[in-house]
Symmetry: C2
Subunit: 144 residues, 2 copies
DNA sequence: AAACATGTAATCAATTCAGTTACAAGAACA
DNA sequence: TGTTCTTGTAACTGAATTGATTACATGTTT
């Protein structure tokens, strides 16, 4: 099991749009940097657009961020690319036997725990923005 | 995407073994409570056995916990049933283009963040034991 | 009109999951 | 002993998801 790389690719796309903002980043260009097919990029960019993170126009190359880097959290991207449904990171077997002490109660016992675990994970992304990503990339460049 | 229900089933199995400890819990019996096939239960019990959480003997019905309830964390179960590999909850696209500022650095920038998110999630399970689960189930029974 | 862009649908191979069947091998007991 | 019940495992299935790919309609620019 592994969470789709759409999330990582989404971050990559947005960071690239920003760092390359003097020239328009076509889906073909981004695909080259990510190392995948342009259609894959366009599909993910469609999700980012739908979430209101970027502006793209059909037929015209390049996309623009709709907000400041510091106003886009990793959680925004995470939600945009739809890698994990709300409260469904962990799946629970359904219809456990209702006549059994454990079967009767296990779901309501486990559910809040799974939700807490998912929330703890998502909180990490809520506390980080694209600005952190871009600054980290820039810092690495300056060292070299 | 969703993490395998093996985790939830593993918790169910162990709680049931404990709450039903006067009588032996065969895989058939447990399967009835979980509402699945006995072979599925035996496969998961094999994982729990391999992780040293239970003792089972081929041919003889019933399994026993090897430790106190309070000594078995949900994280132990999580690891036992192998639902998420170490540091691989999130996947990152590989071979991003090395000549691109973003492509060159994105992996090393994102990796520690993904690891931190996974750790935050796992920590929730490290801080809970089977005792918490069993007590919660018992409490629900007493209210009714 | 030609060239280039995005949007989107369809298809494909690979992987994973859970369920199912089947059967070998161990254990218990009449 | 031999019947019966158990665990341990392998093999197979259908469903779902992922990422890649191809194709093409549509929009934009010159």
């Amino acid at each position: 099991m592994s969470i789709s790389s759409r999330f990582a690719v989404g971050i990559h796309i947005l960071a690239l749009i920003d760092l390359n903002k003097e020239t328009a980043s076509s889906s073909e260009f981004i695909a080259g940097s990510v190392n995948t097919n342009a259609a894959v990029i366009r599909k993910i960019m469609g999700m980012l657009k739908k979430a209101g993170l970027i502006e793209v126009q059909p037929g015209v190359a390049g996309a623009k961020l709709t907000r400041e880097l510091s106003e886009i959290t990793l959680f925004d991207i995470y939600k945009a690319v739809n890698v994990v449904e709300e409260n469904e990171l962990f799946s629970i077997h359904d219809k456990p036997h209702p006549d059994c002490v454990v079967g009767k109660n296990i779901q309501s016992t486990i559910e809040p725990i799974f939700m807490a675990a998912q929330s703890a994970m998502e909180k990490v992304f809520q506390n980080l923005t694209l600005e952190d990503i871009v600054k980290d990339i820039e810092a690495k460049e300056h060292i070299k």
